[in-house]
Symmetry: C2
Subunit: 342 residues, 2 copies
């Protein structure tokens, strides 16, 4: 199928015996154009399914009405939900969303950030990959004057707006909850500590134990346990301990799930012998028994807030910009896996 040649503003002008400038103004409802002419133009435009060429107007006006979203992977529930929140705000403001996946690769991330530099987007909302140990690509981006907002996994030193979950608080809530339920020997599944979110969860865990004068037992801390598989392996180790813990605070739902399935297989009763809490409040947390207590991060809200911050920054370009950091309060969702008293 050969593409028809475009129907442009010039065609409308010709049909109405006027000029493109008049048509352009009429399309924008400019009061300088007579009502009659405006009506004529707009009706013809609708009749012929005319839409102004986005690139031409964007080129001239300087705004692309598009923003980029850079995430590790869209098919992860958390990111997909955030994306949905971002789109919710941006669609309202007539912006489009360009989606980029780094697939957790630093090289790919760098390349994507660079290619988004010019014209394609008016701003960028990003969550960095696990591999990222250097942010010069983001710095270059910001230096060019393109607004950038980080969320969740952020590069802390960079002076840009950020939307975060209070992971420290979330961890605290979970651990306090376990302690309230009578747990004293609490194990911990920690994530990769170079990522801010996991670091803060672990920190929250440790400090809450300290606060309650509970001794920290290094044997009960398992590192880099965030998948179902590693969660299961960690559980197997736990089963070999002389003295079992009475609870696990996991930095993620997947590893909590792995632990639960493994524990059940071993005949451990959850939560009575072993209470477990996860982190992320995945949709499937209530799909099995015992349902999993977890921390909800309000992902949709994170997306909405990030988009809102970015829009503010885009629209107030002329005034001095002060980066803002929004920290969202997570929510403890209590389910059966942690309720010893139940």
């Amino acid at each position: 199928m050969v593409a028809k040649k475009k129907y442009t503003i010039a065609d409308i002008a010709r049909e109405l015996n006027t000029t493109i400038s008049t048509v352009s103004r009429a399309m924008q409802n400019n009061p300088r154009i007579s009502l009659k002419m405006r009506k004529a133009v707009q009706e013809l435009a609708i009749k012929n399914n005319y839409q102004p060429d986005y690139r031409a107007s964007s080129l001239r006006k300087g705004s692309a009405k598009t923003i980029g979203v850079l995430v590790p992977k869209v098919d992860r529930q958390f990111f997909a939900t955030i994306l949905s929140g971002i789109d919710d705000v941006l669609a309202e403001a007539n912006y489009s969303v360009l989606i980029c996946q780094s697939f957790e690769s630093f090289e790919k991330e760098k390349q994507l950030v660079q290619s988004l530099m010019y014209g394609k987007v008016d701003g960028l909302i990003a969550s960095i990959s696990t591999e990222t140990h250097d942010a010069s690509h983001f710095e270059a981006y910001v230096t060019r004057g393109v607004p950038l907002v980080f969320f969740d996994r952020v590069w802390e030193p960079l002076r840009v707006s950020k939307v975060l979950t209070d992971d420290y608080l979330g961890a605290t809530m979970a651990v306090e909850h376990l302690i309230e339920n009578g747990c004293r020997r609490i194990a911990h599944f920690a994530g990769p500590q170079h990522i801010n979110i996991y670091k803060n969860r672990t920190k929250g865990f440790l400090n809450t134990l300290r606060k309650h004068n509970i001794e920290i037992n290094d044997n009960l801390i398992f590192h880099n346990v965030i998948t179902r598989d590693t969660g299961c392996k960690a559980m197997e180790q736990i089963l070999t301990l002389d003295q079992m813990p009475d609870a696990i605070f996991s930095s993620g739902d997947y590893s909590a799930l792995g632990a639960i399935l493994c524990a059940k297989k071993a005949g451990i009763e959850i939560p009575h012998q072993l209470a477990i809490t996860g982190f992320a409040n995945e949709p499937w947390d209530s799909f099995f028994e015992p349902t999993l207590t977890s921390i909800d991060q309000h992902a949709f809200d994170i997306g909405r807030q990030a988009a809102t911050l970015l829009l503010e920054q885009i629209e107030h370009k002329r005034s001095v910009f002060v980066p803002r950091t929004i920290v969202l309060t997570p929510e403890l969702i209590v389910r059966k896996s942690s309720l010893k008293t139940f």
Copy 2:
């Protein structure tokens, strides 16, 4: 932060005492430009982090190097995975992906399709909303000569390329499997029949029963059961029947899950008293006991194929276009919920 004025091709030309046309050609490694000049230009470009303005080149060249993806909701696993597959192919070909959500609203879908008409994208990959009963917006789109590919939920009469799962076959596979496992009284959770995919699943169910000379019992067919909640309600109805079915073929995993949880609560043994199969192979199918037998649709592949078809169509614009329909073979993933013999 005030946006810096752009660093353009003209700045490079000025710094090198040459013209923009030479710079443009040098950037594209045009052999008409001397090697020395090419090197000088390219080095300066890298040094100054120059990227050609996407809109300007797109405007001139006519290709936006961007395609739109229209889905009901990105935070649904199936669509997110497809999106990931689409991106996988398109990123390779240096295309960007613009994501649009219809949120299952016909109005929103119409609006989005219209706004994508000009310039923003070189083509569109879409799955229609449940509400969509009219495809004039897509027709207008195609008439403009913009390539369109449908996937999964398609508008059948429209002469465009399509990527589909063989839902009929998938249903057949599931039901045959149940029959092989000795089931004879098979109930069915059907989805909304105006959507091709659900219609075909139901058709596959019915025809397989017929093929095996199993009487079709209307009391065992439950309509519009695709959520966890409706699945649970349907199960409750099943429990009141004089003669229980010995299996359920569900058109979706969520309703299968609802049924399983409800059945377990009622003390029904799965699969021994009641075998269940789902459809979609959601990632959480193996997160509970009994793990759920389901049909995998190879979502990532659907995305890849759709993107490939679209690219082909975009790049061969001059030749006659013949729409192609690709039907992917689904896969039966046998788990415990259906294995009576186990």
